[in-house]
Each structure stands twice: as C-alpha cells, then as structure tokens.
C-alpha cells in the first residue's frame, strides 16, 4: 500500500518537478528546494553527492539528460561544461549584486567557500600557521587531505598552489607525503578522523563543513594559512538540455534572492551577493594566493601528478 502511494506520488510529482544536481551541503540544497517550492509550487528533486560523482552522473546520462540545474563545487567544471556547449546562457536579475569575478554569461556563484587548515585544538600539537607547518615532524602521520578527484574545491586548491608556487608546490606535496599525510575520501571524510583525534589536521579542508562542526561544539579550528589560500566559488548553471528552462531560471533567481542567499550564509558559506551578511570571515578579508603568471595548470595534469605521487594509480 505504501509502495503504491509512493509510486502515485512520484508519478504525479515527476511531471513538472525540477531536477537539481548539487555538490556540497545537502541540507542547504534541501532548504533552497523547500523555499523555492513554497514560492513557486514547483517541486525540486535533489541529487546530492561529491563534485566527482555529480559530474560522472551528468556524463553517464548524456544520452538521456535529466538534470535541469547544476551546482558544482568547482569553477573549472563549469568552464569545462560551457566549452562543451552544454550550458544555457542566463543572467539572473538578482546577480547584479554579485561581483564580476563570480559570474559569466553562463554561470554564477551560489556561494563561496575558502580552503584552509582545520586543526583539532585538543590534539596536543601547536597551532599550524601555514601549509608548510603540516610537513613538520610534529605532524608526522597526523594529517589528512580530501581526495582532489572527488572534491572540486580540493582540486582548486592544488591548482591554486601550483599556479602560485609552481615547482615549490610540488615540493610541499612531496614533503607532506613523506610526513605520512593520507588521502581520505571527499571533504567530510577527511575531517571525521580529525574530529575524533585520530589525526590532528586537515590540509585543504573546505571551511563551511568545519564551521558547521565548530557550531555543533566540536573542538576544531579553521585556520587560513599565512601565505594565502584559494577561494572556491560554487557555480550554478542551467543545462541546455533542460525541458524546464523557465523553472530553472526561476530557481537561479531564488538562490540569488536575499532569502536564498540568507540560506547560503546559514550553511556557513560566503554569500555570492555582497549585500548579504555572513557570520564568518568574507573573501575580502582573506589573503589569497597570487594569480597564475602564465596559463593555468590543466586539471587533468594536476590530478594525475597528484594521484601518482600518492600512489593512487
């Protein structure tokens, strides 16, 4: 009986529901979906996973596309999809308050995260100040890092470090590897052992996950390294294959509305709009890594080199 009710509900719902594929906080996606549904009456089906999995699903469904709106955690993935010609051009009126660096004709940031070191204050180690501190003997076998092939933001950090420091960056990764740093799945999976104290710090953690843990009372601290870090704007885009472009545009509008941006800020992300407040440091106050002097490193090369260094291939 339940199964039948379920099937009927789904058959009815799927007729006009909007499909959202999103990386990053599932609770935020759920709240945005609920707020949007309340406003427009259109139901949103959410598929939430890591950037790698979301992109894989998009690719697998190429013959039969399902997603209407995509929110990725990596700016590069949006650039890539635009080049493939998969995206619909759309400028939301609500994007006016979004700084130019966080929008293009095809996609716009939903919010922005920054990468940093997350350190367990009860771990008995001294507070790290810069990336290089994690390669010191004190942190021997005590560091985790998210898998850049799964986490878009983590990959952005690798690219950022390589762009800024070139060969020096790879020297750092080698030192970290020699110091026993392990790769531990996507973002939160790198954080969990640090929470329990199995490890002392995460190299390149996405900040919003950790702010959430701090709020829950976990004894960890988010540290933005003194030499600079990268911010990861999270691009929102509409797929050209979408059958519901009107609803998809309305969803982007909602996510960029003051109400939507408030939800983004509540999830400990920096809002994309400059006129919305947040309870955490904003990107203007963060020291960022210098821009690349020449062409940016290709994501594929960086990933392969990193995977080889850490023996994943």
């Amino acid at each position: 009986m339940t199964a039948m009710t379920l099937s009927l509900a789904m058959a009815a719902g799927s007729a006009q529901a909007l499909t959202l594929y999103t990386a990053g906080p599932g609770s935020l996606a759920k709240k945005l979906a609920a707020g949007y549904e309340k406003q427009t009456g259109v139901k949103v089906d959410v598929f939430q996973a890591t950037t790698g999995k979301v992109m894989a699903r998009l690719e697998a469904e190429q013959a039969n596309p399902r997603a209407d709106v995509l929110i990725s955690a990596s700016w590069d993935t949006a650039t890539d999809l635009e080049q493939r010609g998969w995206l619909l051009e759309y400028q939301s009126p609500n994007a006016e308050q979004v700084p130019a660096q966080f929008k293009t004709p095809y996609y716009v940031a939903q919010g922005i995260s920054a990468l940093g070191i997350v350190w367990n204050t009860k771990s008995g180690t001294t507070e790290p100040k810069d990336w290089g501190d994690l390669a010191k003997p004190e942190f021997k076998d005590k560091v985790t890092t998210p898998d850049p092939s799964l986490s878009g933001a983590s990959l952005d950090l690798l690219i950022g470090l390589q762009n800024a420091h070139a060969q020096q960056a790879w020297k750092l990764f080698e030192d970290l590897k020699a110091n026993g740093m392990i790769i531990a799945g996507p973002n939160a999976q790198a954080l969990t052992p640090v929470l329990q104290g199995a490890k002392a710090a995460v190299f390149g953690a996405v900040d919003y996950v950790s702010y959430g843990s701090v709020q829950d009372g976990e004894s960890v601290k988010v540290i933005f390294p003194s030499s600079g870090t990268v911010i990861a704007p999270r691009p929102m885009m509409i797929l050209k294959s979408s059958q519901q472009q009107k609803e998809a545009k309305a969803f982007i509008d909602y996510a960029l509305s003051p109400e939507g941006q408030k939800l983004v800020a509540d999830a400990w992300l920096m809002p994309a709009r400059t006129d919305i407040d947040a309870k955490r440091p904003l990107f203007k106050t963060l020291k960022l890594l210098p821009e690349a002097s020449q062409a940016s490193a290709s994501r594929k090369d960086v990933l392969e080199r990193f995977a080889k260094l850490f023996g994943q291939q």
């Binding site: 759920k30 894989a56 392990i182 531990a184 960890v220």
Partner: protein
C-alpha cells in the same frame, strides 16, 4: 496464450527482465565499447586496454586475498565454535544461535563505519584502553579482512553446527564403542561428515567477501586499498567515467564468483548430509563437563568482539553530542535522533522509501521465486533448467554488477519508457539480487512435500493453478514468508546499487547513512543506522522463529 502457459510465461518474462537483461547489457558493453553511440566497432578493445593497465593486477590480487583471507579466518572462528555447538550440550545453545545471527544482520558498511570510530587512534577503544593501538591494523588489508570476517563467520558457524548435530555424534559414538579415542573418532568420522557443509559455507564466505562494497568503500579509501567492487564503482561514478572499463571489471568479478560457486556446487553434489526429511534427528549431545567454563568464555569473547563492540560503537556515536567530546556523560545527547525528525530532513523520507521498496521487493521476489521453484520442482516443465538457472544466477551476481547492468540496460535513449531515474530501477535491482532467497527456501520446502498431494488434487479435477493455490501454497507458506522477511530485511538496507541507482529526490536508508558520513554528520548517520539495525534485527528474528517452527 492458453491457461497452462500463462504462469510459465509470466515467470519467464519476469526472470528475463530481472536477471537476463542487465547481465546481457554488461556483456554487450564489455565487448562493444561504443555501444552507447549505437556502434559495434572495436569489439573486445576494452579487454585489451583494461588488461594492459598496471593497476589491474593489484585489483585482482587484493580481491582474491580478501576473499581467501575472509574464508580462512571464518573457518578459524566458525568451525571450532560450530563444532562445539553441534556436538556438545551448550548452556543457552539457542541463545548463542540468536547472538551469532546478529553480525550477519548488521549491514557491513555500518559495521565498518562503527569499527572505524571504535578502533582509529583516539577512538572509543583507545579512549578506554590507551595502550591499545589498532589504527594501523584497521586501515590495512588484514583489517578489512577482520571486519568482513566478523560479519561473515556466522555462515560457517551455522553450517558446521547443524551438520555436526545432525550426523556427527551418533556415528562417532559407534566408533567410540569400537575402541576409537575421542580425537580419533572426531578426526575420522565427525569431521569428514561435516566437510561438505564446511566447504560450501567457506566458499559462500569467499563469495560474499569478494562482492562486498561497503567495507572496502569505508576502510579502503583511507588505506588506499582498492578491490574490484570499489574499482568498478570508481570507474562508473567518478568523473571522468569509464563505462566499458566498469563492464569489463564486472565480468571479471562475476567470473571469480562463478568459479567459487561451481566449486561449491561440485563439492555439494551428491554429498549433502543434511537431512531434508523433516524428521527430527535423534540428537544426543555430550556434556561439556569440566570444559563448560572455558567454552563459555570463548563464546563470550567472540560474541563481545563480533556483536557487542560494533553495536555499542554505533549507539555511542548516535548518542554523542560531538566526536571530539569523547566518551563522557556530559557528551550525551538525543540531538541526532531529533535531527532525523526535523523539518527538511530527508531521514523520514529515506526510511519510508526503504521500507516501501523492501515491501515491494519482498512481494515481487516472493511471487516470482515461488512460481519459479514450483515450475521447476513440482511441474518439471520444459525449460525448467533455464528457469532454475536464471532464478539462482543472481546468487553469484555481485550487487555492483547488477547496478552496472541496470544502468547500461536502461539508461538508453531507445527505450520508449525506462525505469531509470525512478524508484522503479531500485525495485528491479533489489528483486534481482534477492530472488535466490525465496527460490532456495521454497524449493527446499516443495521437495519435502512430494507429488502425491498435487496429483490427488488434480485427479479430483483441480486445475494446476487451483492445486497450486489451495494445496501447495498453504503448505510452503511458512517457508515463503520467512524468505520474504529475509528479503525485506536485506532490501531495506542494501547499499551499493542504491548508491549507484537512486534518482534525484529519492534516498534510501543506506544512502542516507553513507551521505551523512560523507558530509561529516556522523552522529545523524549513526542514529539512522541504529534504527535500521534494530528494524532488520526484529524482522530477522521473526523470520528465524518462523523457520524454526517449521523445521522442528
């Protein structure tokens, strides 16, 4: 279609849809890498490519090592305990059976996550026993083998104890009367009698462990150890994807499983010493005498490690405010259970989705399995071998392969309608995976009934369908119901195909728990896990009782 062909027709179509279609597409995609563009070019080129990859050897070797390791360790735990339970009058024997049923009921991925929280540096165990360092052991191949063994060894325990109880002691007594010492009687009589059961249960342990995704998925990512299952998932679900590669690896995994399965069949053929007569065996179990205490201590230790520790770890996490707060009373909270019921939480949706899907699966797999075994055992129709083969084949199919097959089969533009991206695809995958349960249970029950009753009904003018409904169904109903409850319990927590196939907006219990771990809400995940384990425990115990009542 005439009336006589209706039931075989329906059963055949169901089996084709559930089993043959996904398998066929895995084979097709493996052979023709450009199938998705409708082209049959470059056949077999993926095999060459995948076999040339240097990582393949490691994948293959790890999978075999884990399978053999789990089989060996399960033997080390399961055979002695099973022998003691089968041959001696153990205090609280039935209670021990129930206790050792539990590890088999805790979904392996939940067990693995619990072990991680218990054993990693500064985990629960180290918080209590600071000198005990098991972190490096857990995140290694032996650690993965240990966690899987603790889940799987009951298979061996039950097979060995039942087989020894049924046949071992009486003949051994005869040997003792003729002058053999107790050890000699055990080695020469009891052990050989139990060998087929032992061998087949060890092979089952091997198959279960090479098919496992949750444990290597949870522990392997931190130790950098890939098995075939996790390797397939990576190719399929991480960007950039490699469908043909995933299909080839799937075939490789099925090949290993099929080998193990055929060895198992060969070992069992004609040597089944378990009595299927339904007559109560005259069991005379010896007293343990002075050994009672040590034996009880042994059972207690195993039960503590395999059952109590992972469950306690799950519960402690579910009731802990923060992970960094550790094991203190002030860290106690009900917040995580509250979160499950909070607004915008997917938890209740996930629970009702899982329960609805499990109910649907139990009904469909039960009906299909019942019809299939009836056609094969009682009606002995033409094509029985094919129906039998198709309905039992999924026993050798790893969940991940069924998932791959369903994606490859249904995510195509040429179908006018497709279950892909609806909850229907999950129903298809669960039904396929769990079909062998009702088939096995019902076949066994039908074999005990014999043909007389059916024939008598037919002589008195009943049609085949009437005889089926009014004579056979009531007789095998307890077995069918028990198997359906088993199906329900397993389906309500299935992980790997749910991860691969859940469409947008649909979450199952397993996906919910997995995603909470991915997102750092470990407590919420474990709160859901506790509810899921409690639920499947209750159901399985009911099924166990039904089954007991029928066989005794």
């Amino acid at each position: 279609m005439n009336r006589n062909a209706f039931l075989p027709g329906v059963t055949g179509i169901a089996l084709l849809l559930l089993v043959a279609v996904p398998v066929a597409f895995v084979v097709l995609q493996a052979v023709f890498p450009h199938l998705d563009t409708g082209s049959y070019s470059a056949p077999f080129s993926t095999f060459t490519r995948v076999f040339a990859e240097p990582s393949l050897q490691a994948l293959f070797a790890t999978t075999l090592k884990v399978g053999l390791g789990v089989a060996l360790c399960s033997a080390l735990i399961g055979v002695p305990l099973g022998a003691l339970r089968g041959l001696f009058a153990l205090p609280g024997a039935v209670l021990w059976d129930v206790v050792f049923l539990i590890p088999f009921l805790i979904p392996p991925y939940i067990a693995a996550l619990s072990w991680m929280l218990a054993l990693q540096t500064n985990g629960y165990v180290q918080q209590l026993l600071p000198w005990l360092h098991l972190n490096d052991f857990l995140f290694s191949l032996p650690g993965m083998v240990a966690v899987m063994t603790l889940n799987v060894f009951p298979v061996v325990y039950f097979a060995v104890s039942r087989s020894m109880a049924a046949s071992g002691s009486r003949l051994a007594d005869v040997a003792r009367i003729h002058g053999a010492g107790p050890w000699r009687a055990f080695i020469r009589i009891t052990l050989p009698m139990a060998l087929p059961a032992m061998a087949s249960s060890l092979l089952l342990a091997f198959t279960l462990s090479i098919e496992e995704y949750g444990v290597p998925g949870a522990l392997g990512s931190r130790s950098g150890i890939l098995m075939l299952t996790t390797g397939i998932e990576q190719r399929l679900a991480d960007w950039p994807i490699d469908m043909p590669g995933a299909a080839v690896l799937s075939l490789l995994l099925v090949a290993i499983a099929l080998c193990a399965y055929s060895v198992q069949r060969a070992v069992l053929a004609g040597k089944n010493v378990e009595s299927m007569t339904g007559k109560p065996a005259d069991v005379t179990q010896k007293s343990l005498a002075g050994w009672t205490l040590p034996v009880m201590a042994l059972f207690t230790v195993v039960a503590f490690i395999a059952v109590a520790l992972p469950i306690v770890s799950t519960l402690v996490t579910a009731f802990s405010g923060t992970l960094s707060g550790g094991l203190t009373l002030s860290n106690f909270t009900l917040r995580h259970f509250g979160n499950l019921f909070a607004a915008h939480s997917d938890a209740l949706g996930a629970l009702s989705t899982s329960l609805s899907l499990a109910l649907g699966t139990a009904l469909i797999a039960g009906a299909t399995g019942f019809l299939a075994s009836w056609l094969v055992v009682a009606r002995k129709i033409r094509g029985a071998a094919l129906i039998d083969g198709l309905s039992l084949f999924p026993a050798t199919l790893p969940g991940i392969v069924v998932g791959v097959g369903l994606i490859l089969a249904w995510n195509r533009s040429f179908w006018p309608v497709t279950p892909y991206n609806t909850w229907g695809i999950l129903l298809l995958s669960y039904c396929c995976l769990l079909l062998p349960y009702p088939v096995r249970y019902v076949s066994a029950a039908l074999k005990q009934i014999g043909g007389n009753l059916d024939a008598a009904a037919r002589v008195h003018g009943a049609t085949a369908a009437q005889a089926l409904r009014m004579i056979l169904l009531p007789l095998v109903f307890p077995s069918l119901l028990a198997s359906m409850m088993m199906v329900f319990a397993v389906a309500s927590r299935e992980l790997v195909t749910s991860l691969l196939l859940s469409p947008a907006g649909v979450q199952t219990v397993s996906v919910y728990v997995w995603r909470q771990f991915e997102q750092g809400s470990v407590g919420d995940g474990m709160a859901m896990a506790s509810i899921a384990v409690l639920l499947s425990l209750t159901l399985m115990l009911i099924a166990f009782r039904l089954q007991q009542r029928q066989t005794s």
